[in-house]
């Protein structure tokens, strides 16, 4: 147990990394058909370690076994660290806490240093459990789903590389290391979206995902630089766990925290597919479905939420940034929900729903902007909790969609199949479980987390300072809740109800999920139904998360506030609960009325109304970007290229012509005739003599 305590941290990322290396070195060449085995094995190791970490990192929350006395290296404040190696350091990197002079952190002496160090606290443990669980199940599912693909080992190699990067992202102990793996998960996403790279759409989607993410990364890296110049360090432990230092810096440079937070948030917007950078996520569905489930629904896209939650101590001091977060979240949730209403592609419905739910999480985080002192902790808690439940129910939805796709011969257009309830019973059950959870049907996972977000928004809307703003956001959230229930069940009814129609690609007898695919579906389906009930109303998740060092604890000013606060924290906002239940069930009911008894493909015939087209094309945002950003940039590139050839290079060549021009004037003298040369010589001589004589006479 002692050994495990010390080494559990590095085992979590190392196991998938080793699996990846095995595939790169050897797995490509032999046992190609069994390439999933090392990956699944590695993920099991990671998963077990993550579970162990969950129970060991926060002693006292849970009854612990005989390992309690070995927590000696648990750093102060409930974080465990494991130093791997010194990545690089430049200049003199001080180990002492930043010294303050004139209210400004002393930066000049401090160089830039990055240690590859793993650091786990309550928040990262929860993330890790979620990441490893979903990854493990997805890997098992993929071993059936991807069977027979020529790139089978490549798929599992990239998948395990992704899990490694994601674990490292969560375990990073400083901002730059986080950035490293922030980009690394982007790489894995690129490789996996472009997995079928011979499809032009997949190649384009992969590039789009990476480049759009890079725009976010651009903001993130500038934010990190600014943190570095402000704090003189990049270590989480020294930046986030020291509220006093932050307060001093806020007093010294009031504006800088808003800038830092907004820059960090740009990174989150890119990675978590928020408006206006959300356009890459729907296209990312070109990748294999397990990838969509793992990377583009459950784990990678939540990294942005994680980043903002992690930096909550910084965001605390910038209500303005938090309001922006809430606004962007609301806009995203609304836009994505509107788009999801009319999509014909099952995976795209789910993709937009993911974007919309991520917007929900940001709304929750942003809710703290109304009153950071009191609302930061619940806001972060509920955002993280929604992320947690969302990972499970969205994963099961995607995997079920994958199962449908598998059975339908890679057809995913809902207009081309219907009534699959009988043909695919397993998929039907699990998809239904996921849909109910996503729609927020009472007592299921989505209900608990969504309800808490609505509750915290409700509290924000009741504050005096920014009440109106947050009331609008609350209304958006409620509207989105209704639309979520509607579009989820629209997709459900279109796929599983109605007359039984198969596309020709499916063959005569579509086969349901094979055992290796069914097992993860069942587990995730059960989790989608129950995990919210198990951890939400019991406050298991929330209380665990509150052990995160540096996470702001609400300050209590007087006794009355304490009572109100306690009620709000531990009780439930019954009004919001009721409203959200009604909205969820209402949404489902409307979906049933419209699509419950549809007649197959006829039910969703192309509706030419401009509103539907508007929604179907994602508010024409892609076209807008193409017309206003991509095309102008491409034209600018063409112009630059022309400018380079026609102006700059011509100037250079023009300058080069000057000697030639001068030469052309005096060249005729050089005609090769001896007598001409002699004549010129004679003239020169005569001139010389005249000059000499003149100067001689001058002397006299």
């Amino acid at each position: 147990m002692s050994w495990l305590n010390e080494n559990v941290l590095w085992l979590i990322p190392a196991a998938p990394l080793l699996a990846c290396l095995w595939i790169v070195v050897a797995g490509q060449f032999f046992r190609r058909e069994k390439a999933h085995q090392p990956v699944v094995f590695g993920l099991i190791v990671s998963w077990l370690c993550a579970l162990y970490l969950l129970f060991s990192v926060v002693p006292g929350t849970f009854p612990k076994g005989d390992h309690g006395e070995h927590d000696s290296h648990a750093a102060a404040g409930g974080a465990v660290t494991y130093f791997v190696y010194d990545w690089f350091h430049v200049g003199t990197v001080t180990e002492q806490p930043t010294s303050m002079t004139h209210g400004q952190a002393q930066v000049d002496g401090g160089g830039l240093g990055v240690r590859v160090e793993l650091r786990a606290d309550a928040m990262s443990s929860l993330m890790l459990v979620m990441v490893t669980t979903v990854s493990l199940l997805v890997a098992i599912f993929a071993s059936g789903y991807m069977h027979g693909d020529p790139g089978y080992p490549r798929f599992f190699g990239a998948l395990s590389l992704f899990v490694f990067s994601m674990c490292m992202l969560v375990l990073a102990s400083n901002f730059l290391l986080l950035f490293v793996f922030w980009e690394a998960v982007g790489l894995c996403s690129y490789l996996l979206i472009g997995f079928w790279f011979h499809k032009p759409s997949a190649a384009a989607a992969a590039k789009k995902a990476f480049v759009v993410n890079r725009i976010g990364d651009f903001g993130l890296i500038l934010g990190i630089f600014m943190i570095w110049t402000t704090f003189g360090t990049l270590e989480f432990d020294r930046i986030l766990a020291d509220p006093e230092l932050i307060k001093q810096l806020v007093l010294a440079q009031p504006g800088i925290f808003t800038t830092i937070c907004l820059l960090l948030f740009i990174g989150a917007v890119g990675k978590s597919a928020q408006f206006p950078l959300h356009v890459w996520l729907p296209d990312a569905m070109e990748g294999p479905t397990p990838v969509s489930a793992l990377i583009h629904a459950a784990t990678m896209v939540t990294a942005g939420v994680y980043l903002v939650a992690r930096c909550a101590p910084l965001f605390m001091h910038s209500p303005f940034a938090l309001q922006i977060v809430a606004g962007v979240g609301a806009a995203t949730a609304l836009i994505a929900a509107i788009t999801a209403l009319t999509q014909n592609d099952l995976k795209r419905v789910l993709a937009y729903s993911t974007v919309s739910q991520l917007g929900y999480m940001f709304m929750s985080l942003g809710a703290a902007g109304a009153d950071p002192e009191h609302l930061m902790q619940p806001a972060v808690t509920f955002a993280m909790f929604h992320m947690f439940t969302h990972a499970f129910f969205k994963a099961v939805l995607f995997l079920s969609a994958g199962s449908v796709m598998h059975a339908m011969g890679d057809v995913i257009d809902m207009r081309r199949f219907s009534g699959l309830r009988k043909a695919l019973p397993i998929t039907w059950v699990t998809f239904l479980a996921g849909s109910l959870a996503l729609a927020g049907v009472p007592l299921l996972s989505g209900f608990w987390s969504k309800d808490e977000i609505l509750a915290v928004l409700h509290r924000a809307a009741q504050t005096e300072t920014h009440g109106t703003y947050y009331t609008v956001i609350l209304c958006v959230a409620l509207l989105v809740a209704f639309m979520t229930a509607f579009y989820t069940f629209r997709a459900y009814y279109l796929t599983f109800h109605g007359p039984e129609v198969f596309p020709p690609e499916a063959g005569h007898h579509p086969h349901d999920a094979s055992p290796s695919m069914a097992l993860p579906l069942y587990i995730l389906g059960a989790a989608a139904l129950l995990i919210g009930l198990a951890t939400g109303p019991t406050h298991l998740y929330g209380h665990y998360l509150h052990h995160t060092p540096g996470l702001p604890v609400p300050t209590v000013s007087h006794a009355a506030a304490e009572g109100a606060h306690a009620a709000a924290e531990h009780g439930h906002d019954w009004f919001m609960m009721l409203t959200s239940s009604v909205l969820a069930i209402g949404g489902i009911a409307v979906a049933y009325l419209m699509y419950g008894s549809h007649r197959g493909a006829a039910g969703v015939k192309d509706n030419a109304s401009p509103l539907v087209k508007f929604s179907l094309n994602g508010l024409y945002l892609d076209e807008l970007y193409l017309a206003f950003i991509v095309k102008p940039l491409r034209s600018l590139a063409e112009v630059s290229e022309l400018f380079d050839r026609m102006v700059i290079d011509q100037i250079v060549d023009g300058v080069a012509l000057i000697p030639g021009f001068v030469a052309s004037i005096i060249r005729p003298i050089q005609n090769g005739l001896v007598q001409h040369y002699a004549f010129v010589m004679l003239l020169g001589l005569a001139a010389g003599m005249v000059w000499m004589l003149q100067s001689l006479t001058g002397l006299n």
Partner: protein
């Protein structure tokens, strides 16, 4: 300056100018060389005149040197001229414009300067001054 010296210097100057004019206007390599010799001797007359004027022998010593050098130089120059003649079978100096810029018009183009003589002769012949004759004056087999 005495009248004697002056008249001697005038003779030297006349010789020099004659040589210079000859060098600039003749196209025949041998004549050009002879003109150069003439210039040389114009200078030599000057040297002796000044030697006599100053009453010492250095002017004459110089002249002896000049004569000696002129003799060597004549030998060399004639050898070179012979070599040039072997290449082009002509003594026309306009055939040797190689030092000129290649894309400039040939100065003697109107006279067919670069053309080789129609009837190559074995030995050099003296062409009349200045102009390219239409046909060789001396039959090709005549030796000089």
């Amino acid at each position: 300056m005495t009248a004697e010296l002056q008249s001697q210097l005038v003779v030297g100057a006349i010789l020099f100018v004659l040589g210079a004019i000859g060098f600039l206007t003749r196209r025949n390599l041998i004549l050009m060389m002879l003109s150069a010799e003439l210039m040389l001797h114009g200078v030599a007359v000057n040297l002796t005149a000044f030697g006599r004027y100053h009453g010492n022998a250095s002017g004459q010593v110089f002249t002896i040197f000049v004569l000696t050098i002129a003799a060597c130089e004549a030998g060399l120059a004639l050898a070179l001229i012979l070599g040039l003649y072997q290449r082009r079978k002509s003594l026309d100096v306009h055939l040797w414009g190689n030092l000129g810029e290649p894309d400039l018009p040939q100065m003697s183009a109107e006279e067919g300067g670069r053309m080789a003589p129609q009837h190559p002769a074995d030995m050099p012949t003296l062409t009349p001054a200045g102009r390219m004759p239409n046909s060789p004056v001396v039959p090709s087999n005549t030796k000089i």
